[in-house]
């Protein structure tokens, strides 16, 4: 597989505020890659750097093995062969659907243009709407037109900037599916920025979590769950609890929930204080042992309850339980872990 | 890229202009006139000139000082051959800026009395504009009037109408008084006159005349051709108003009534000097003089040419023989005096 996008130690500051710090990643051709992160983490800025609207202060950007930007020089956006789906779509209000899609096809002759437009109209199921104006379309239709416009010139890379942030929740999953289908049908390579976990996991071949201008991890989606490389990845994915533990003489991490084999035990020595990531689903109530936790909240979540309890050391633990447990109830919690897990040093 | 092309195009156009401007010179005989006399008043006589000589006249009209400023800025490149103004002071000013040149012409020197042309023959008066006192025939006994100075007498308290000090005719009138009476005397006079105002100065000379007719004031100072214009207007209201007005010639026992001229000068940059001189001489001819003055209701500057019958009805008068160059010299002095007197 060839590489379509390669970022090498990108740094960017805006008005003396660091926005991006040492970002490196690659996107392979034909893949959909997702950048996940809360708003303000710098992920949209990264897209603007890749598109060429901003210039990095350090690092290099390669698109299809061509250097398009480094500290000294930058290829202008129109010469990067990059398409973008904007957050607010940025459809040209004075052009029809067909004209919007044709807009970037000025290098083709009329026949080829028509051919490509027809192809895309079919792909986005808008043949009947080709002569309508954007304000005559529904939100979802606009979305597809915007994507078709970005895809039309067959860019090397398509950037999607939170494409569904303004769409109703109910519609999102359907649109995500449509967009994914369109991208795959056209064999596009895409870098998709979002703050929605569901959206990211629904589309991503490769995935990363950004926080405070740093890329915490860049890997396959399942690796994020199974092998998080940073406690903040766990916090962001919110699938596991970070429990304060101590390393015992066997290199295991130990707390009142039990003792756990560590994947990265070489990093620690006996007596180190660590945070260990324990999946919410691994935690259960042990009726027979002494109480180590107090329930502080319990929420019904379709068939089971998500229970929050505090351990005696103050750590909050979330886990699932078949039955409701009343607030204030004392319980004993244990964790059952089948494979080595990760711990992180506490500062 | 596009803007680059634009710059190139502009440069090309300028270059073409330079070359074309250099070539296209030979043309029909013409003379270019800057005139502060309004088009309606000057155009007919210029058309007559063209008809008589075949020389085309190009005209642009405007305010005197704006035209002088334009001449100054254009310098030697100015297309203007001739400057026509309605005030000797402005001709003096143009001369003092070095914008005019002398014209040695016997025809002009014999036709135009010395007082009404520049001592060095830089400019020549074409018609005389007298500024007498006008009064309401039914309310004022002309024997009560004497001269400009006596308008400050107590009997005229609240009865004098005159236009604003911004106006050149008043500036020239005051300048002529400064020339004969001195600054201090005129300053006192101006203060006295302001004290006698019937109203704050508004409008032009016609408005002062109308105000006399309407009874707002008893006496006004105005140029005669405005009264002439009202009598000729064909508008019954204006006619009715004008007929209530009498003309009094002030200062007949001393220096004479204040007169100004509409005048003409050949510019220093003139490219068609010969044609310009032809125009000047044409304007000084007997028939033109008579026609030019009669159309505008002014007095011919050339001695022996009869004025319009209406003007004759108001009687002959003694003119202030002051050389009109003085009006230009003393103009700013006059303005300052009026400012200080609080003459709006």
């Amino acid at each position: 597989m060839t590489t379509t996008l390669k970022l090498n130690s990108i740094a960017f500051t805006y008005e003396h505020q660091p926005v991006l710090n040492d970002i490196s990643l690659t996107v392979k051709t034909g893949q959909i890659a997702c950048l996940l992160g809360p708003s303000g983490c710098g992920k949209s800025t990264l897209l603007r750097l890749i598109a060429g609207f901003e210039k990095p202060q350090a690092g290099e950007i390669y698109i299809a093995d061509h250097l398009v930007a480094n500290q000294q020089q930058a290829t202008s956006p129109q010469n990067r062969q990059v398409g973008m789906l904007f957050q607010d779509l940025a459809l040209f209000p004075h052009l029809t659907v067909a004209e919007n899609i044709t807009f970037g096809l000025h290098k083709l002759n009329k026949n080829k243009q028509q051919q490509r437009v027809d192809e895309l109209l079919e792909l986005c199921c808008l043949q009947a709407f080709s002569s309508r104006y954007p304000h005559q379309l529904s939100g979802g239709q606009c979305q597809r037109v915007a994507l078709a416009r970005a895809m039309a010139p067959r860019p090397k890379l398509i950037l999607l900037d939170e494409p569904f942030s303004s769409v109703e929740t109910g519609l999102q999953s359907q649109l995500v599916h449509e967009v994914k289908t369109m991208l795959q049908a056209d064999n596009s390579t895409a870098l998709w920025v979002t703050h929605s976990l569901d959206e990211a996991f629904a589309v991503a071949d490769q995935m990363g979590v950004m926080l405070g201008g740093q890329l915490l991890q860049w890997s396959k989606p399942n690796k994020l769950y199974e092998n998080p490389e940073h406690p903040d990845v766990i916090r962001f994915l919110n699938h596991a609890n970070l429990i304060s533990c101590q390393i015992n003489e066997n290199g295991q991490s130990e707390s009142s929930l039990g003792q756990f084999e560590l994947e990265n035990h070489q990093q620690f020595k006996h007596g180190d204080q660590v945070k260990t990531g324990i999946n919410k689903r691994s935690i259960y109530i042990n009726e027979s042992e002494a109480f180590n936790a107090t329930v502080i909240n319990s929420v019904y979540q379709g068939g089971q309850y998500l229970v929050v309890a505090t351990l005696s050391n103050g750590d909050a633990v979330e886990f699932f339980n078949q039955d409701n447990i009343e607030t204030g109830h004392r319980i004993c919690l244990k964790a059952r872990v089948n494979q080595p897990i990760k711990s992180f040093k506490t500062n | 890229m596009q803007s680059f092309r634009l710059i190139k195009t502009t440069f090309f156009l300028v270059a073409t202009g330079v070359l074309l401007g250099g070539c296209a010179e030979v043309a029909d005989p013409e003379v270019n006139v800057y005139s502060s006399r309004k088009e309606a008043l000057i155009k007919p006589v210029l058309d007559k000139f063209t008809a008589a000589t075949g020389i085309k006249v190009n005209l642009v009209t405007g305010k005197d000082d704006a035209l002088i400023e334009r001449l100054k800025a254009e310098g030697a490149a100015s297309p203007a051959d001739v400057l026509i103004t309605v005030d000797a002071g402005r001709l003096y000013r143009a001369k003092s800026y070095g914008l005019t040149q002398a014209v040695e012409s016997d025809a002009l020197q014999t036709a135009i009395p010395a007082a009404f042309r520049d001592p060095e023959n830089h400019w020549f008066g074409l018609s005389l504009r007298a500024r007498p006192i006008m009064y309401a025939k039914n309310r004022v006994n002309p024997n009560d009037l004497q001269n400009y100075a006596s308008l400050t007498d107590e009997q005229w308290f609240g009865k004098v109408c005159i236009r604003s000090s911004e106006n050149i005719y008043n500036q020239s009138l005051v300048a002529s008084m400064v020339a004969s009476l001195g600054t201090e005397a005129v300053a006192n006079w101006a203060a006295g006159l302001v004290n006698n105002f019937a109203r704050k100065p508004v409008g032009g000379d016609r408005d002062q005349i109308k105000a006399v007719a309407a009874g707002q004031c008893d006496v006004a100072v105005a140029n005669t051709y405005y009264l002439f214009g009202m009598l000729q207007s064909g508008d019954p209201e204006q006619l009715a108003a004008a007929e209530q007005i009498g003309v009094f010639w002030p200062n007949q026992n001393d220096r004479g009534t204040h007169v100004n001229v509409s005048g003409i000068a050949v510019t220093k940059a003139a490219k068609n000097k010969e044609h310009a001189q032809q125009l000047l001489e044409f304007l000084a001819q007997d028939d033109t003089q008579s026609w030019y003055a009669n159309v505008n209701g002014e007095y011919p500057v050339k001695a022996g040419i009869e004025a319009h019958p209406l003007l004759i009805k108001w009687g002959g008068f003694k003119k202030d023989a002051l050389n009109l160059s003085k009006l230009g010299e003393l103009n700013s002095e006059a303005v300052k005096i009026m400012d200080r007197a609080g003459w709006p």
Binding site: Q78, V82, F86, A90 | S3, L6, K63, I168, A214, E237
Partner: protein, 545 residues
């Protein structure tokens, strides 16, 4: 936004140099010390000029505010007899040059005018037996300027009121507010930026007015400029007074920025808005109707009628022959100058959008100062500056030929149109700036990403989206140009006249009846673009809704 250096930025500096030269010429004059004249001025007339200018500004601002906002509110919110017609009739006074309304009112109301003469004839009174307000006074100037300038406030306030969502009124009522207080507590504050935008235009027009104040004998700073230049033969002194004027204008611009800046509301309505306006009840509807009718009558129909009567008394019999050519000349010069003004404004706004350089933004702001400088002062600056350029030109020319020196820059349409563009650039910038700001920058980015360059983006995205505002700007400038007098008077080439010049010459020759004919022509050609303008603004509103 883009890494490529914009050639258009270089062009802007070139343009600024070109348009800046006349300002520079005035500045040089400014630096010539005129201590004696200043002492004299401060001692005598300057305080009057200053206070009269400030008072005029104050009263005209209040007058236009009250008339403009009240009519805009009535039209935007209620239905009452005739409201459909008033909606467009109310902007007609815009086509009336203030000085022409002044001529008409003076002719009618003066001591010797038909009204007072008839009064005296009927009652047998003589002048001192009755009181009659004097139109040629400070109050008269305020009245006339207010009547012709209020449409600026009306237009902008109306558009703003109409864009406010109905929901606001509903929310106001739900939170227990009385319908009456809605105007003061919600609608007015929301429309404030628009109202001040209009008011700033009014104030600049007022400061730059010469024709009206001169005719009415009101001594403002513009009168001072002329009197110092002409009477005291001191152009430097005049330029220095002009500088006071300029400072006042900059203050107004800053004030507008402060007023506007604190309140950048987005008043765009949320899609649905019913156009059914509540009907006013009982006597209120007639009161509203009467109020609008009186304004229109005073500002448009009465002056128009008076001009007609005056024209009938005119001695000019073959007026068609006299004025047809002048009308054509006026139209083509105004059209060409409007086109160039809008093009320049477009270029400036494009650069403003594509550059983050502060210096460029300031430069652009400075270039719109011309609106408040009296046309005459601009004309002087242009004359002097172009005089320099002509000297350079002639110096080069001597290499090519030995023909006598000639003019390239001065004395032709170049000088005249340059002055026009300088003076009215701000008028074109206003709508274009607003329109440009409403085009989101990511449309540009979307276009660039498809491989189009800046010029193509400008042509295919900006131009189509700005088209409507460009028309608005064109019409606004065109109407202003039809009325322009002082700069035309000073700069026009040989054998060229405009209607305004004709009207002025005849009027200053005290032939008001004759002046009425070109005056009527100005109104006749001015009404059409004004009506088109109204239509555009309404259409824009319908599109938004």
């Amino acid at each position: 936004m883009n890494q490529q250096p914009h050639h258009s930025h270089k062009l802007i500096w070139l343009l600024a140099l070109f348009f800046g030269l006349p300002f520079f010429a005035l500045l040089l004059k400014l630096l010539t010390p005129e201590a004696a004249i200043w002492l004299h001025l401060i001692d005598t007339v300057l305080p009057t000029y200053l206070t009269q200018s400030l008072l005029l500004l104050f009263w005209v601002a209040w007058g236009t505010l009250i008339i403009g906002v009240s009519t805009a509110w009535l039209i935007a919110s209620y239905s009452f007899p005739g409201h459909r017609y008033y909606q467009w009739l109310l902007i007609l006074p815009m086509s009336m040059p203030a000085y022409i309304v002044a001529y008409a009112f003076t002719w009618w109301l003066d001591v010797a005018g038909p009204l007072q003469s008839a009064l005296r004839a009927m009652s047998g009174w003589s002048f001192n037996d009755y009181y009659f307000p004097n139109i040629r006074s400070f109050g008269g100037a305020v009245l006339v300027l207010t009547l012709v300038l209020y449409p600026y406030v009306y237009l902008l306030a109306r558009a703003s009121f109409q864009q406010q969502s109905k929901r606001l009124l509903e929310a106001h009522q739900l939170s227990g507010g009385k319908p009456k207080t809605f105007f003061y507590r919600i609608a007015l504050p929301l429309a404030r930026p628009a109202i001040f935008g209009g008011l700033a235009l009014v104030m600049m027009e007022t400061l730059a007015d010469y024709g009206t104040v001169q005719y009415f004998g009101v001594n403002t700073l513009t009168t001072g400029i002329l009197k110092t230049w002409f009477g005291l033969a001191s152009l430097s002194g005049a330029a220095q007074i002009a500088c006071i004027l300029l400072v006042m204008v900059i203050l107004i611009m800053l004030l507008e920025k402060v007023w506007r800046g604190q309140s950048k509301y987005d008043v765009a309505n949320s899609s649905i808005q019913s156009h059914v306006k509540p009907a006013l009840s009982g006597h209120k509807r007639w009161l509203a109707s009467f109020w609008c009718l009186s304004i229109i009558t005073l500002g448009f129909f009465l002056p128009l009628l008076l001009l007609f009567i005056m024209a009938l008394k005119s001695q000019i019999s073959n007026w068609w022959h006299e004025f047809f050519a002048v009308t054509i000349d006026t139209l083509w010069v105004a059209g060409l100058a409007a086109l160039l003004t809008v093009t320049t404004a477009l270029l400036l706004m494009y650069v403003k959008r594509s550059s983050q350089q502060r210096s460029l933004h300031r430069l652009i702001q400075a270039m719109s100062l011309g609106y408040a400088i009296p046309g005459l002062v601009i004309a002087v600056g242009v004359t002097i500056a172009f005089g320099w350029l002509d000297q350079v030109y002639n110096w080069i020319r001597t290499y090519f030929s030995d023909a006598p020196a000639a003019l390239l820059f001065n004395g032709g349409f170049l000088a005249l149109i340059t002055a026009y563009v300088m003076r009215f650039l701000a008028v074109a910038i206003q709508p274009l700036d607003a329109a440009y700001q409403s085009i989101k920058t990511n449309l540009d980015e979307a276009s660039l990403l498809t491989g189009k360059n800046n010029a193509q983006t400008f042509r295919h995205i900006h131009l189509p989206l700005l088209k409507s505002s460009m028309w608005t700007a064109m019409l606004l400038v065109f109407v202003d140009l039809l009325k322009e007098l002082p700069a035309t008077l000073v700069l026009r080439p040989f054998n060229f006249n405009t209607l305004a010049v004709k009207a002025y010459e005849l009027a200053s020759d005290e032939r008001l009846a004759d002046a009425a004919i070109p005056a009527l022509s100005i109104v006749a050609v001015g009404v059409i673009p004004v009506l088109l303008l109204n239509q555009r603004i309404n259409a824009a509103h319908d599109n938004n809704a």
